[in-house]
């Protein structure tokens, strides 16, 4: 422990402010007890919303509809392009339209268990309760969900759950839900309730007397820096998977907004909980800039294998049956190719590490449909997976009807984020955090189709109440643009931009980002050990130094400078990487997406340590070069019993 004392300082416990009472009634009771802002007074309150994805667009809309003045920011050229647009599979809701035994309780239970008992029970129960309203909301907005012939909504089973509760719009559910939210947002923009600022990047949080009072934004086209003051600040800025460089996230996804808030005092929770998706297209070379997800449903009919002997370079059709290693089927006879995401991912890594990888880069495993084609016929396979096969063909140039697909795991989602209480407020009063940017609902592992649900629950149905409660319940003195905290924060941002431009070294932001990803993926990816994490710590420190000594950014800060934007994001991702690794090092257990090799069962499964680690790890910035402070929020399970996962 003595070393740990130096790696972090112990701090006081965090209180999630969970309301008392039975789990079914907590949210109702709280809503009743919350203070309201009178309709005529709402226009006197200004709320700053950063982000226009599902979480940001929905909260900006709902607040605008209630009569608040809202300013909303995104870095793309339109709010409709936020990364939520890329979600494919669907959105969960406990509608029980199939009469198959689904209920709020079951969705709640599945989510707690899926998160490997590392999330706050009360939040998840509320999420399950709200889930049904989201579908109603989407339909009213004109979201063209899939329908059955009778005109009713269709849904499907997704991500290994036993009921059908996933609503979808072809393979473009995120796009359609986002367009629904964007249309409602557009209506508020047209009505003058929401002022939308595109191509604007938040570069810092303004905190006055310990309260969040605004942000510093840079206009990406003109370079203008300004403070935007408000009565509350909402961050809905998405996830930070790009700390691994290669991920399924959009290129613009980054950690800057929440990282800057962390450096201003907001607690960062569970940064090490990252989700790795097993079915992505493997990188094809050093030019690779991102990875593409292939739907998990492919594992229903595809068989995963590699040549049994390392170094076997025969083409797949030349490898006879006895020389094929169907590693999931052999190791997990009852679940076979359908084991959960993390188990499938780790096993694929294992065989590739052993030299059995396939493809030109030897970095994939086969997902083979030849047997399914024989059994079901090509037409059925085409009907089930046609669009995915086309996408694969277009990216790799290989025809998956003729040769087996190649897949490999990739980082996909980050469960960690800024810590929030039951009301989605961070420890900094006036700062609310929504969607993937917060840590709230998915514990150590997120179930498929539940991120869209969470973002929209936060934005449409939770934060509009709790922000009102905050605004009604606190007296805030007016902050003016010449307050020292405001001018000081702008000056900090300006200095930082000058620093980035002033290094004038030789390495590009892209090269440094690639190196960051390489360190994170190799040392802190699918399997982590005390040793690999220590190596990562050293290498990240070196990388940070190399960044600040040898970066080259051309141009100036007075106009559109995409390289400057990117360099700033990479700088923050490197610092986050260091905290992520520290969190992974401190959590000496395996849970969900966090696998510590030291903590596994006899058959290689993740082994939790509930005695010691049943808590949320909340990290607090203590200044440049100082060890961060660790604050714990103990997790208690009243409605669900803790139990072990088993797939053998």
């Amino acid at each position: 422990m003595s070393e740990h004392v130096r790696l972090w300082q112990e701090g006081p416990e965090l209180d999630g402010r969970v309301p008392p009472g039975s789990i079914e009634n907590k949210w109702d009771d709280l809503r009743f007890s919350m203070k309201l802002v009178a309709p005529a007074n709402r226009r006197h309150h200004h709320v700053v919303v950063v982000g226009s994805g599902l979480a940001g667009a929905s909260v900006a809309t709902a607040l605008g509809e209630q009569g608040y003045r809202v300013s909303c920011f995104c870095f793309q050229d339109s709010p409709r392009r936020a990364h939520s647009v890329a979600a494919q599979g669907g959105i969960n809701a406990a509608k029980n339209y199939r009469n198959d035994g689904d209920s709020i309780r079951r969705l709640f239970y599945d989510t707690v268990k899926g998160g490997d008992y590392r999330s706050r029970e009360s939040n998840i129960h509320r999420l399950a309760q709200i889930s049904t309203e989201i579908i109603d909301q989407g339909v009213a907005q004109g979201v063209p969900f899939a329908r059955e012939y009778g005109g009713y909504l269709d849904n499907r089973s997704f991500g290994g759950v036993q009921v059908s509760r996933t609503f979808y719009a072809r393979g473009q559910t995120g796009q359609q839900l986002l367009l629904g939210a964007y249309q409602s947002l557009t209506r508020q923009i047209a009505a003058g309730q929401v002022e939308m600022h595109v191509r604007s990047e938040m570069l810092d949080l303004i905190v006055v007397d310990g309260i969040a009072r605004g942000i510093v934004v840079r206009n990406l086209l003109t370079g203008e820096l300004r403070a935007v003051l408000g009565d509350a600040v909402v961050l809905a800025t998405g996830g930070y998977s790009n700390v691994f460089f290669l991920s399924t996230n959009a290129k613009g996804c980054n950690v800057t907004a929440i990282w800057r808030a962390y450096r201003r005092g907001a607690v960062f929770a569970n940064p090490c909980y990252t989700q790795i998706h097993p079915t992505c297209i493997p990188p094809s070379g050093s030019h690779q800039s991102k990875l593409t997800l292939m739907s998990e449903s492919l594992r229903n009919d595809g068989r995963i294998w590699v040549p049994r002997h390392p170094g076997d370079t025969r083409s797949p059709d030349a490898v006879p049956e006895p020389d094929r290693y169907y590693f999931l089927e052999e190791k997990y006879p009852s679940f076979g190719n359908l084991v959960p995401r993390d188990v499938a991912s780790r096993n694929a890594k294992h065989v590739v590490d052993e030299g059995m990888g396939v493809g030109p880069q030897k970095n994939g495993v086969y997902l083979d449909f030849s047997e399914a084609m024989e059994r079901l016929g090509r037409a059925t396979i085409e009907q089930r997976y046609g669009n995915l096969f086309d996408m694969y063909h277009s990216i790799t140039g290989e025809d998956p009807y003729a040769v087996p697909m190649r897949i490999y795991p990739a980082v996909h989602y980050t469960m960690g984020g800024l810590w929030v209480d039951y009301q989605l407020q961070s420890n900094v009063p006036g700062l609310f955090v929504l969607g993937e940017a917060n840590f709230s609902d998915h514990g150590a592992n997120r179930l498929g189709a539940s991120a869209l649900m969470q973002g929209l629950a936060d934005g449409y149905f939770i934060a509009p109440y709790t922000i009102g409660n905050y605004l009604a319940g606190t007296d805030r003195t007016a902050v003016t643009a010449d307050a020292p905290e405001v001018t000081g924060t702008i000056a900090d941002v300006r200095n930082r931009l000058s620093a980035l431009l002033g290094i004038q070294g030789r390495r590009t932001a892209l090269a440094l980002h690639r190196e960051l990803g390489h360190i994170m993926w190799e040392q802190c990816g699918m399997a982590r050990t005390a040793e690999s994490l220590s190596t990562a710590r050293t290498r990240l420190q070196e990388l940070r130094e190399s960044f600040w000594n040898d970066l080259y950014v051309p141009g100036d800060a007075g106009s559109l400078n995409q390289n400057l934007e990117f360099a700033g994001r990479v700088a923050d991702l490197i610092e986050l990487g260091e905290l992520l690794v520290l969190d992974a090092l401190h959590r000496e257990e395996s849970c969900g997406g966090h696998f510590r090799e030291e903590s596994q069962t006899a058959d290689g499964e993740a082994k939790r340590n509930d005695e010691e680690f049943s808590y949320v790890a909340g990290w607090t910035w203590q200044g440049e070069g100082a060890a961060p402070m660790l604050r714990r929020e103990p997790l208690e399970f009243e409605a669900v019993r803790l139990s072990e996962r088993s797939y053998s």
Partner: protein, 250 residues
């Protein structure tokens, strides 16, 4: 492979702009078009020159952020693909490739290959939504929608707002974009109460933004990465005429 690139460079909206030629070696046929541009930009940085600005985000054909003219074709030569989904294996060693921004009066160039598509957002602000407030939604299955109508609405709703339609159109018209939103909402029962008001508001704004008129050339559909069909345009024109004849509300 080796490529000869001719790329549009323009420092700002005020700058007149010009083509510049670059030679690029070692392009992998497996890389995407935007990864090829990444490589070019790394080479420019090495020479301590300003990289080429271009918009992109998802790099998988869904966000609508990317958009380039490749040899005069919006999103390049492969139908049904955005330029971020275009791979270099469709080009040959030694090819000369001309890369330009969208050339549309209502999309002013910001820098190099980046344009301002704010006009699209403003068209949608003139009725591209259903007037409904959070909290008032009825139970989802109380609105039944025949499957074929829902499917048609979805065909239109897949529009990613990239602007290729306008860029390909000799008149610089945004008709396919506008028709896609009119068609999406107009095919759903929820969209009926505002159907005629919507089409008039959006079409008038499209004109006000300086987009050209539609003369049924059809170039828009052929470059649309989501292959949105011309029939939505006919449908929009019918709705617009009916609205003008006072049919609103029928």
């Amino acid at each position: 492979m080796k490529l000869h690139l001719r790329v549009w460079r323009q420092t700002s909206a005020e700058d007149r702009g010009r083509f510049e030629d670059y030679e690029l070696d070692d392009v992998s046929p497996d890389s995407s078009f935007l990864e090829m541009l990444d490589l070019l930009n790394e080479q420019l940085l090495e020479q301590r020159k300003m990289p080429v600005a271009f918009d992109h985000d998802c790099r998988e054909g869904i966000c609508g952020m990317c958009g380039l003219m490749v040899d005069g074709m919006a999103h390049g030569p492969i139908p049904g693909h955005t330029v971020c989904q275009l791979h270099m294996r469709h080009f040959k060693d030694g090819d000369r490739i001309v890369i330009e921004p969208w050339r549309v009066a209502a999309f002013p160039v910001v820098q190099d290959l980046v344009v301002d598509r704010g006009s699209f957002d403003r068209i949608l602000q003139h009725g591209g939504f259903i007037s409904f407030a959070t909290g008032t939604a009825p139970e989802a299955n109380s609105i039944l929608i025949p499957k074929d109508r829902a499917d048609t609405a979805m065909d239109a709703a897949t529009c990613i707002g990239c602007g290729a339609c306008a860029a390909a159109c000799p008149n610089g018209s945004a008709t396919l974009f506008t028709a896609a939103k009119v068609g999406h909402l107009g095919h759903l029962p929820q969209g009926q109460p505002e159907r005629y008001q919507r089409v008039v508001g959006m079409v008038d704004q499209m004109d006000a933004e300086g987009f050209g008129g539609c003369t049924n050339v059809g170039a828009c559909t052929s470059v649309c990465p989501k292959e949105i069909g011309q029939d939505f345009i006919s449908q929009m024109n019918r709705d617009y005429r009916r609205a003008m004849l006072g049919g609103a509300g029928d």
